[in-house]
């Protein structure tokens, strides 16, 4: 044994140092790799749940109609039937969960209607769009249009 070691001891000490480094790395790895890593793929399985943690800000049409059946009925069969409630009224999940906690403000029809219906060359030609100056002298949209059933007269 000694004859084998002779003149090579420094190499064995270096090799031992390297081996210790590898072992240390393996221990650190075992401790630090997050739980659930690699279960579904090369990622931490808990990240799937993490991505689901956010509370929705938009409730969705179905939630609105639960209480606001009148508006739901007016929308049916009309030109705005496919427009979500919150597309105009903004994110209202808070209101849907607890109506008294957040009272939505009525949108200003002039600015809101123009968001979609202001004439623009890039909009599809078939889409109803107007130039407010020449359309009824820029008068309030709700004078003639029911916002929930725009091809009908507004409810009195």
């Amino acid at each position: 044994m000694n004859r084998f070691l002779k003149d090579k001891e420094h190499l064995f000490r270096m090799a031992a140092l390297f081996a210790a480094g590898v072992v240390l790395f393996l221990i650190v790895r075992a401790v630090l790799v997050p739980k659930g890593f690699g279960v579904y793929g090369h990622y931490r399985a808990g990240a799937l749940a993490d991505n689901r943690v956010r509370a929705p800000r938009f409730a969705g049409r179905a939630a609105c109609i639960e209480c606001h059946t009148d508006e739901g009925d007016r929308l049916k069969g009309g030109k705005h039937a496919g427009v979500g409630c919150e597309a105009c009224h903004g994110a209202l999940a808070k209101h849907a969960a607890d109506p008294s906690s957040l009272k939505p403000t009525k949108p200003d029809s002039k600015t809101l209607c123009q968001t979609c219906h202001l004439m623009n060359v890039a909009k599809p030609a078939k889409f109803p769009q107007i130039d407010p100056k020449s359309h009824m002298d820029g008068g309030p949209c709700l004078t003639c249009h029911d916002q929930h059933a725009p091809d009908k007269e507004p409810k009195k």
Binding site: H42, G46, A47, N51, G84, E86, T115, V121, A122, K123
Partner: protein, 252 residues
């Protein structure tokens, strides 16, 4: 040490050694299954249809996304944005703009009848099935979920920005508040609860529609069969799952 004590120590030691890996295994398996029982990940495969013929550039989707997902409001961080194309001739040199990503709509800047065609193109993460961005992530902080959404693990991301470089569509950005990457995650917190994405919810014309490719009853199958559908940058072979109807060849 007499043989009884020696046997005891050896056996106890072996049992102790066994419980540690057993506990570790159980924990790994259990934590990996952190899902609500109602949503079955493996029964869905998400995508989206964007119908260029219906988009009116109202910007509802851009605003809704920023509200729903708490995206920084500066005009250089978007999970989704809308582009306006103004194309003359064959479309080799389209004129493209996206003022604040379409957040405040598109002020008119073209005259009707100028001989060109123009249209809006909503953009978002294409939820690629062979995504180049997850390929390059050095640590596994971004990945394709089993149900087809490309997600980010914000607790694990180093902020190296390699994925931002690797995305051909420019849909990723670094959130300055967390110094990690962020991007459209298909409103994963909504679609796993039976809701649709915020952008689809707020789109007034139905230009954006969430689709579940694994659902046999989803209208997407019929849609793909009956419409001329395109993905962005097909030559990159990313397996993009956002299908555009009536996408013009000039779209970048």
């Amino acid at each position: 040490m007499n043989s009884d004590r020696r046997d005891f120590v050896l056996t106890a030691g072996k049992l102790l050694l066994l419980t540690a890996p057993a506990a570790a295994y159980l924990e790994a398996v259990e934590s990996g299954k952190a899902e609500e029982p109602a949503y079955k990940t493996f029964e869905h495969y998400w995508g989206m249809i964007v119908d260029i013929e219906k988009c009116i550039g109202c910007g509802n989707c851009v605003r809704a996304c920023k509200v729903e997902n708490d995206v920084p409001l500066e005009p250089y961080f978007f999970r989704t944005w809308v582009e306006r194309y103004h194309v003359e001739g064959a479309g080799e040199h389209p004129d493209v703009d996206s003022p604040d990503g379409g957040y405040n709509g598109f002020p008119e800047k073209y005259a009707a009848g100028d001989g060109a065609k123009s249209f809006f193109v909503p953009k978002l993460c294409n939820q690629c099935a062979h995504s180049p961005c997850t390929q390059v992530c050095p640590v596994g902080a971004t990945f394709e979920s089993p149900d087809g959404a490309v997600l980010v693990d914000k607790t694990y991301c180093l902020g190296c920005r390699y994925c931002v470089q690797a995305c051909p569509y420019g849909c990723r950005f670094i959130d300055p508040r967390t110094n990690t990457v962020d991007k459209c995650n298909l409103c994963y917190h909504r679609i796993t609860k039976g809701l649709t994405t915020a952008c689809c919810e707020s789109c007034p014309t139905g230009a954006r529609q969430l689709v579940d490719l694994k659902d046999a009853r989803d209208p997407v199958h019929e849609f793909l069969r009956t419409h001329k559908v395109h993905v962005l940058k097909p030559q990159m072979a990313t397996g993009s799952k956002v299908f555009y109807n009536a996408l013009d060849g000039s779209v970048r």
